[in-house]
């Protein structure tokens, strides 16, 4: 993936780009909003990682301008401001996701990959398939190797999210935000318990494990 990092903290930008390259991506860095806008206009990036507070042109203003010009590259906002109103402001300006600083690097990678993926699957799907697993979004049914699996509504949503991001790491925070729509941090890893229940339902009686725990990051559903 080709990524553009728009961040005025040179050291943070360097660490970020190193990490992204390490994870197999290409990364360019712009140090202010104007430079970022200039580079992003080309449309050659898969995801833009934009700090909210930038010199010359503020991150929110930069993305607004980009969207006005019709440029649709997914944007992940990074910000130290984490209140809902800030989040909403960022998303309204045309951001696609919002990550509050400080964050774990695994969280950043997982979100960037999720954004890039979202771009690929633009069409509305009615059937999701990951390996032996099939999800009928209209009939609300899940089958593995043709055998029906009974899921609670929340387990269904959880699996749907994992299937849509199959092969990628998804973090606990992402699950909490997207599946439960909570923007807070439970002290205990409540998500782990939900995952282990789901795992036992989709793996019990089958030989091949599908739902992996990714150390330091979260989970990954593999075909």
């Amino acid at each position: 993936m080709r990524l553009l990092i728009v961040e005025d903290d040179a050291e943070a930008a360097l660490a970020m780009s190193k990490g992204l390259v390490e994870a197999g991506h290409e990364a360019e860095v712009a140090a202010d909003g104007e430079a970022g806008l200039g580079l992003a206009r080309d449309g050659r990036f898969d995801v833009l990682i934009v700090d909210r507070m930038l010199p010359k042109l503020d991150g929110v203003a930069m993305v607004e301008q980009l969207r006005r010009e019709g440029e649709q590259t997914p944007v992940l906002f990074l910000s130290a401001l984490g209140e809902i109103s800030h989040r909403v402001e960022g998303l309204k300006a045309g951001g696609d996701d919002y990550l509050v600083k400080p964050y774990a690097f695994a969280e950043l990678i997982a979100r960037v990959e999720a954004l890039a993926r979202r771009r690929e699957t633009g069409s509305v799907q009615t059937l999701l398939r990951v390996g032996e697993l099939e999800m009928d979004l209209i009939g609300r049914e899940v089958r593995r190797r043709g055998r029906k699996i009974d899921l609670q509504p929340r387990e269904f949503q959880l699996l749907e999210f994992l299937m849509r991001h199959a092969g990628q790491s998804v973090t606990r925070t992402m699950l909490l935000e997207r599946v439960w729509e909570y923007h807070f941090d439970p002290q205990t890893n409540v998500i782990d318990v939900h995952i282990s229940r789901l795992r036992s339902k989709i793996e019990k009686g089958f030989d091949k494990p599908m739902l992996q725990t990714v150390r330091g990051a979260g989970y990954r559903l593999d075909a």
Binding site: E83, I84, Q187
Partner: protein, 450 residues
């Protein structure tokens, strides 16, 4: 000074009005009597001619009617009457009024008394003057004027005294307020203005000032406390982190040890610190703000159902009986995330501190007082009454829970969330001790209904 001028002006106007009204009235009364007298003489003249007029005047001059008469011929030469000559220098053609001085000798002394008079040319061309001594009326007016002067002096003196009293009272109160502000400005936020209980504007000002100081003091104390707390709770893990990294470096340089494991441990430590930092910051912000940001109206039962669903498997796995009694259709106004977080913290504590075989119950209901109560009751070891207030404080963890995970910020955040929504956190004993369980804890967030 302005007040003095204004007051003096108003008093003069008032007195002047009374004088004009009184004196004017006296003159009008005299004039009316003179005119009446003149008319009756004119009647005599019209019916009986000059002779009848002359007779009437002579007769009336010797009576005690109190009028002054003078009948003159066409040329103005006096014919009869009680005064020697007309006060008019030139005889009018119609009729005219005048005020003049009458010289009278009373008991041998000459006295000039004020008089009013009217001279009229009668239909035959002869002149008639009728006047009256208004000394009596004038004296009355003068007495009134004198009384008014006295009253004016009294009013001015009283007014000044009153004004001075009010002004000095005002000055005293305002300077008391200024003292409070001055003290606050140099950093003493513990000062309070005296509220006298009179309920006037100054009292309102004092009460407003006190309220402002109260909030300032609380938020500054909150920030200071947060600063202390951050320093306290981040210093020890930072020290630990530093020590571990130093040891790992020494070991790696010596060719022993596992740098990857050391880095992993360091990351974990850093994450823990970040989580603590975030929580402390959230608490401090909530405590400093007048109210929680981003408030919306929502159904607390629905929110609780979501949080319950999140925690149920956790309680299940620990072998706890988990129940929820959620009244639907209630309404509160608040920050959904913060209240959700508070509820999650309470459930977290309940699950953490209740041993297997126990029970956790989540309730949302409207109290008798009409407030909305979100409560979590467990059958864990509970908290002794004397410790309940203390455990709400930051970083407080009871001795017997020291090895459970968590930074000890959970309840502080719950309390801060409740306060930022004009509510409170109530801690009470749970269902009581039964067969090795309990007495348990009942923690309730009580919020005003919306």
């Amino acid at each position: 000074m302005l007040f003095l001028l204004f007051f003096g002006g108003a008093a003069s106007l008032f007195l002047g009005y009374i004088y004009v009204a009184t004196a004017g009235e006296a003159q009008r009364t005299a004039d009316a009597a003179i005119a009446r007298e003149a008319r009756s003489l004119d009647d005599a003249y019209r019916s009986g001619g000059f002779g009848a007029l002359n007779e009437a005047v002579i007769e009336r001059s010797s009576s005690t009617r109190g009028f002054l008469y003078l009948v003159m011929d066409r040329a103005g030469a006096p014919v009869s009457g009680s005064i020697a000559r007309s006060p008019f220098a030139k005889a009018p053609n119609g009729s005219a009024w005048t005020s003049f001085r009458l010289t009278e000798s009373i008991d041998g002394a000459l006295e000039r008394r004020p008089a009013r008079g009217m001279e009229e040319r009668l239909s035959g061309g002869d002149l008639l003057f009728v006047g009256a001594d208004v000394g009596e009326a004038e004296g009355y007016v003068l007495r009134i004027v004198n009384a008014l002067w006295g009253a004016a002096a009294l009013v001015v003196v009283l007014g000044l005294c009153g004004g001075l009293l009010v002004a000095s009272d005002l000055t005293r109160n305002v300077s008391a307020l200024n003292e409070v502000i001055g003290a606050a400005r140099v950093g003493d936020l513990g000062v309070r203005a005296k509220v006298r209980g009179t309920g006037d504007e100054l009292d309102e000002l004092a009460a407003g000032l006190n309220d402002m100081l109260e909030r300032l003091e609380r938020s500054i104390a909150g920030l200071r406390h947060a600063g202390d707390a951050i320093a306290h709770d981040l210093r020890s893990p930072l020290t630990r982190l530093r020590a571990r990294m130093e040891a790992a470096l020494v070991e790696t340089e010596a060719g022993r040890g596992d740098p990857v494991a050391a880095l992993r441990q360091a990351l974990e430590d850093a994450d823990g610190m970040l989580r603590t930092f975030t929580a402390v910051l959230a608490i401090a912000r909530l405590e400093a703000a007048a109210s929680a940001p981003d408030q919306i109206r929502f159904d607390p039962g629905e929110l609780a159902a979501g949080v319950a669903e999140l925690y149920e498997p956790l309680a299940d796995d620990k072998g706890l009986e988990f129940g929820a009694e959620l009244t639907q259709g209630l309404s509160v106004r608040g920050n959904r995330d913060f209240i959700g977080q508070a509820l999650a913290n309470l459930l977290d504590n309940a699950v953490k501190y209740t041993p297997g075989g126990g029970a956790v119950m989540l309730r949302v209901r409207r109290t008798g007082a009409g407030e909305i109560e979100l409560s979590v009751t467990d059958t864990g070891m509970g908290v002794p009454e004397g410790d309940r207030e203390r455990i709400v404080g930051r970083f407080v963890r009871l001795e017997n829970s020291r090895n459970a995970p968590g930074a000890g910020l959970g309840l502080s955040l719950v309390a801060a969330v409740a306060h930022a929504h004009r509510g409170r956190l109530e801690l009470a004993e749970g269902p009581g001790a039964v067969g090795g369980l309990g007495p348990g804890l009942r923690a309730a967030i009580v919020l005003p209904a919306a």
